[in-house]
Structure formats: C-alpha cells, structure tokens
C-alpha cells in the first residue's frame, strides 16, 4: 500500500476579505505568503452615514452634559432619535453645557452646544427659551430627552407644558410611532401613539449603532429669557465619605496590593472621595463588608474610580461598569484592570500614593481647572 494520498496544503495562499474571513485563492499553489497575513485583518471600517442628501424633516434630542460629556442615558436619547428617524429625517441634538465628545456614533446629524448653560445650575426659564427656539427652528416630529433627575426630566416637562403638547414620561418601550410606559406604579403597561415630547427611562435603547450621524455643528439658539421668579443659590455638596458608595461620585478603592490603609484613606480624604475595596481586601479584614465593590458587593456609578492595587478580576469589574473614568495604580502592567482603565500607572502603590499626597498638599500647579461647581 504505497498509494500516495492527496493532501490539502494547510498553508495554501489565502486572502482575508473585508469581513475578516479567510478566502483560499483557487488554483494557486505554493507556500504560505506572510505578506498576505500582514494585512490588517480587522480595520474598523468607518460606519456608513445614516442620512443621505438633504433632510426632509427632523427629530430632536436634548440633554445636559456634565464636565463636557453626556452620560449613557443622554446617549440613549440621541440613539433613540437616530433609530426611529426615517431615512429622510435628520437628528438634531441640543446640548446644555460644554461638549468634548463626538456624538456621531450615536447618530447625531446636527449638534448645537450651549457652553454657557451652567451644568448643574438652575435656570429653567432660560433653558426653556433656548429649547423652545431650537424646537421652533427645526419643527421636529418628536423631541427625545432622558427622564433623569439632573435637569432633563424637569426641562422636558416644562417644554411639554409650554407647547401644550402631548407628552409621554418614563417611556420604557419605543417603536416606530408608538411608545409604552408603566402605569399604576408598574402594574400596568400603557401603550399609545408617540407624542411630541418623549422622556425616556434609562436603558431602553441600544446605543451601539451600525451607522453614524453627520455630526455637523450648528449655531446654538440665542434666545434670552427675561429675569424670572427663579434664583439659583448654588450647590450644596455632601462629602463623598459621608455617602453610600452607590451614590458617591469619586471612589478610591483598595485591593490586595495596598498594605497601608491609613495612606489610602488619606488619599481618599484629600480628594473628598469615598473608600471602596476589592473582595480580597475585605476578606483580609482590612475593610468592612459594605465597602466591597463587585459582583458580590456593591455596584457603583462614580464618575471617577481610582483603583489602587486591584488586579481587575471580572467579578470586580462588574461592579464598576458604570464608572466613567477609571484610573489604576498597579505594579503589574499586564493586570486586567489596565484594559478597563482610562489611565494606568505602573508602579508601587505605596510610593505613588505618598507622592499623590505630597502633590495634593502642594497644589501649586497652574489652575486651569473648572472654577465653579
């Protein structure tokens, strides 16, 4: 039995098609050509534009930014408009407060920014005048806003009343031309036609879209409201250390890599931050159980999360999904937390914390940070 068996050459020349699939070049023989593999397999292709040509109508989204960014809930309001727009309708977005992020990924075609709007201020009449002017300019079929407690829920209701328009609040389901929301404290679901003003509940819209918006910047509204009966008397901030972890906006969290707890607490105090911990740190008795963050601990939504000596196990990362800015201090550059973190410092926790305290004590760097709030 010396019959030669026909074998397929596993290294036949092939090409990668745009979808990343291997395609054998028929008829070609020979060895493996490394130059073909070197071609980038997954170049994130620019997403196609949703809107072509001149728009025949508009959908609006409006929200307040915080520190130059919109939150996930606001992104969902924009994405809702983009997903529900007909191919001829453009999505116009009005942002109260400054904006340093790209809203095209959420389908925004026209973006107007009001950097003068005080992010956490209270000027309902001025904001209503701006929004009213924007609505008049585009005569939208619907206005989508997040139904939140940071100003948009309030402003949306004021808009509906001002325009004497139909409104749906706490909307939990959106379909073309129809909305649904809970009645009777959640026991009944009411469905009806989509009104002009749609205030959506959180997490009812998917924000990863297969298309992109045009993202053109347009002039913000310029209306000036006369002085009214409202006066803003400023914010009263409760020290983060006095807050439950879930409500804190700045958390300094310790893991197994932190030996010196008093230094960590001093860092947290210097930032006015709440203290959290990983499970290992809690199990070792360094912290009480109510400080544990993660799958079996607390789920937090702080804007800033400083993870000191935490490896970033999935169970821990689960608890910090909603955190906007994650900063890690870890002596291991390949720890999983570095993939999640926006800034990773590779170094000894104790040294960096001590240097941080020294830097915070000096505070002699140029002060270009936000002045107010």
């Amino acid at each position: 039995m010396n019959q030669e068996r026909k074998r397929l050459d596993p290294r036949r020349p092939f090409l990668l098609n745009p979808a990343g699939l291997r395609r054998i070049i028929l008829g070609a023989t020979g060895g493996f050509d490394a130059s073909l593999l070197a071609a980038p397999a997954h170049k994130p292709a620019a997403k196609p534009l949703r809107l072509h040509g001149d728009p025949a109508g508009y959908l609006l989204a409006a929200a307040h930014s915080q520190r130059g960014m919109l939150d996930a809930h606001a992104h969902q309001a924009i994405a809702a408009a983009a997903l529900l727009a007909t191919p001829q309708q453009a999505v116009a977005v009005l942002v109260f407060g400054s904006l340093n992020e790209d809203l095209r990924a959420y389908g925004a075609d026209l973006v107007a920014v009001l950097p003068g709007a005080d992010e956490l201020g209270f000027a309902p009449e001025q904001e209503l005048a701006w929004l009213d002017e924007f609505v008049t300019r585009y005569a939208p079929a619907h206005v989508f806003m997040p139904d939140n407690e940071t100003g948009d829920g309030d402003l949306g209701r004021r808009l509906a009343v001002q325009l004497e328009a139909e409104v749906a609040t706490h909307v939990v389901e959106l379909k073309p031309g129809a909305v649904a929301m809970y009645w009777q404290g959640g026991a009944a679901l009411a469905r009806g036609p989509m009104p002009l003003v749609v205030l959506i509940a959180p997490d009812v819209v998917e924000t990863s879209l297969p298309f992109s918006g045009a993202g053109e910047t347009v002039a913000p509204p310029a209306a000036q409201a006369p002085p009214g009966p409202y006066q803003n008397r400023g914010l009263r901030e409760i020290a983060a250390s006095a807050l439950a972890l879930e409500e804190a906006d700045f958390i300094v969290a310790a893991g197994n890599g932190v030996a010196d707890i008093p230094t960590l607490e001093a860092v947290a105090a210097a930032f006015g931050a709440a203290v959290g911990a990983s499970r290992v740190a809690v199990d070792e008795g360094k912290f009480t159980r109510d400080k544990q963050i993660g799958a079996t601990g607390k789920t937090v939504s702080a804007s800033t999360y400083l993870a000191v000596g935490i490896s970033g196990a999935v169970q821990h990362l689960q608890g910090i999904k909603a955190c906007r800015h994650v900063i890690a201090i870890n002596c291991d550059a390949s720890a999983p937390i570095t993939k999640r973190a926006d800034l990773s410092i590779v170094g000894d926790a104790q040294e960096v914390m001590t240097a941080l305290l020294a830097g915070l004590a000096q505070r002699n760097w140029p002060d270009t940070a936000r002045e107010s709030v």
Binding site: F122, A187, L189, R191, Y230, R233, G359, D367
Partner: protein
C-alpha cells in the same frame, strides 16, 4: 415668623401599595402634607376624585380634614384643582403619583394653569418672607438650593427627609369634606391602552443585518479600549500624571 395670612394647600391622591395593590395614602403626598404642616398650622388638603376610604390615612398623618373635589369619571383633575387653589400662596404635592399614570406632570400643568413658578424634586422647604427657599435633590450626593417668589407650586421628592407620624386618634377626629360637584371638562378620548405588565418591555435596537460570522465577532469582541499606560518616571511624576488626568477631565475642582 411667617405672616399668618399665607395660604398653603397640599394636594393628595390615593396611592397604591406596590406589593398588594391595595389603596393607601401615597407616600410622596404624605411628604407633601407633612412639609405643608411644617410651614403653617392651617393647610387646605385637597383631593380631586372620589371620597375613597384611603384618604382617611391623610387625617392620621395630620390633616384636620380632606376636601374632596368630586370628579366625573374620565374627567381631568386639573381644572377643578386649579380653580380651587387659585389665590393660594404655596401649593405642595408629591412628585409622582403611585396609582394612575404617575407621569409627574401635575405640578407643571397646574403651575402653567395658575401662571406660577414650579420647582420639583424638593427635599426641604423654608419660607423667607415673600420667597421660598428649596433644597433640591440631585443625584450623586449633590443638593441644589433655589429660591422662587411666591406664589409657587412645589413637588416633593420621595427622599425628602421628613418623618410623618401616623396618629390613629387624628384619623378618627378628622373628616372628609365633599365640595359641591363640579362639571369638569371631560378629557378627550384617551389614546392610551393599558394592559397588565407581564411581558418585559422590548429594548429599541438597530435591525440585525450582519451575517453569522460578523455577529460572532461582534459578540466576542470586548469594548475595552485600554487607556494610557504610564510606566516610566518617578513616583512624583506618576502622581502628577494622575492629577493632570483628573484636572483635564475636570474631575477635581482644584
């Protein structure tokens, strides 16, 4: 102290026990009533609708009487309420009803009908002459202080730090008063159809057009971006990098 002629009204509704569905005093409205009683001895407690037995709970929480404005079925509560509270200095209500639509629109509509300012999410209310100062709830441990001139409509936040006491003796002592029936404007036929909430609402998603392979890649791809990595430098420089990041993103105020 406050001028005695200040007229304060608390609007109350029939709530709903979230577990059993049994009618009860609505939690937010109890807070509004309690806040009103903290501001004035005489408070008009008003309810538009039927004289439901659950309204007796408000007597227990301190209302001397509850005035019921009868409402034909299907009529809008706004007109009778607005007619009744016209001329009041301060109108308090809960931010969101427990039964019915619970849209949180009443305070805004009432304020518009009466041409008054409206402030919602109120935690604390104090009177300062012809103004009222309100501490408003904001998430993440922030509170905002605003002032409005009277008259005004104020909606109480569910987390208002009040401690209403239930006193059975006052429940027995108080009374429900029925105002003469009014002909409220009937609402236009409602386009809303309600059904028992058994199914989970569907999330709005883009239609799936990708083929299997692309979908698989999308499912396993992690969205982790992996931010900047600082390896080099002294500890002081690393600390500086953290502070620069915090300041660049305006996460610290100094």
């Amino acid at each position: 102290m406050m001028p005695p002629q200040l007229k304060i009204a608390a609007l109350v509704s029939v709530g709903r026990n979230p577990a059993s569905g049994a009618p009860r005093a609505a939690r937010n409205d109890v807070l509004a009533l309690d806040a009103a009683l903290g501001l004035a001895r005489e408070v008009s407690v008003l309810h538009a609708g039927d004289a439901a037995p659950a309204l007796h709970d408000y007597l227990a929480y301190g209302a001397a009487s509850v005035e019921v404005l009868p409402l034909p079925p299907g009529a809008d509560a706004l007109a009778p309420l607005a007619g009744r509270v016209a001329g009041y200095d301060l109108i308090l209500c809960g931010q969101r009803a427990e039964a019915g639509q619970g849209s949180g629109m009443l305070a805004y509509r009432l304020a518009k009908a009466l041409n008054m300012p409206v402030v919602s999410a109120a935690l604390e209310i104090s009177l300062l002459g012809d103004e009222v100062e309100i501490v408003q709830f904001l998430p993440k441990g922030q509170r905002r202080v605003v002032r409005v001139s009277l008259p005004a409509v104020i909606a109480l936040h569910p987390l208002a730090p009040r401690n209403p006491r239930y006193v059975y003796a006052s429940r027995r002592a108080g009374r429900l008063l029925s105002a003469p029936a009014q002909v409220g404007a009937p609402l236009p036929a409602s386009p809303w159809q309600s059904e028992p909430a058994v199914k989970k609402p569907q999330k709005l998603k883009p239609p799936e057009t990708r083929q299997g392979h692309a979908r698989l890649l999308g499912a396993i791809a992690t969205e982790s971006k992996g931010g900047a990595l600082v390896r080099e430098g002294s500890a002081a420089e690393k600390a500086r990098a953290i502070l620069d990041y915090l300041r660049a993103n305006r996460l610290i105020g100094f």
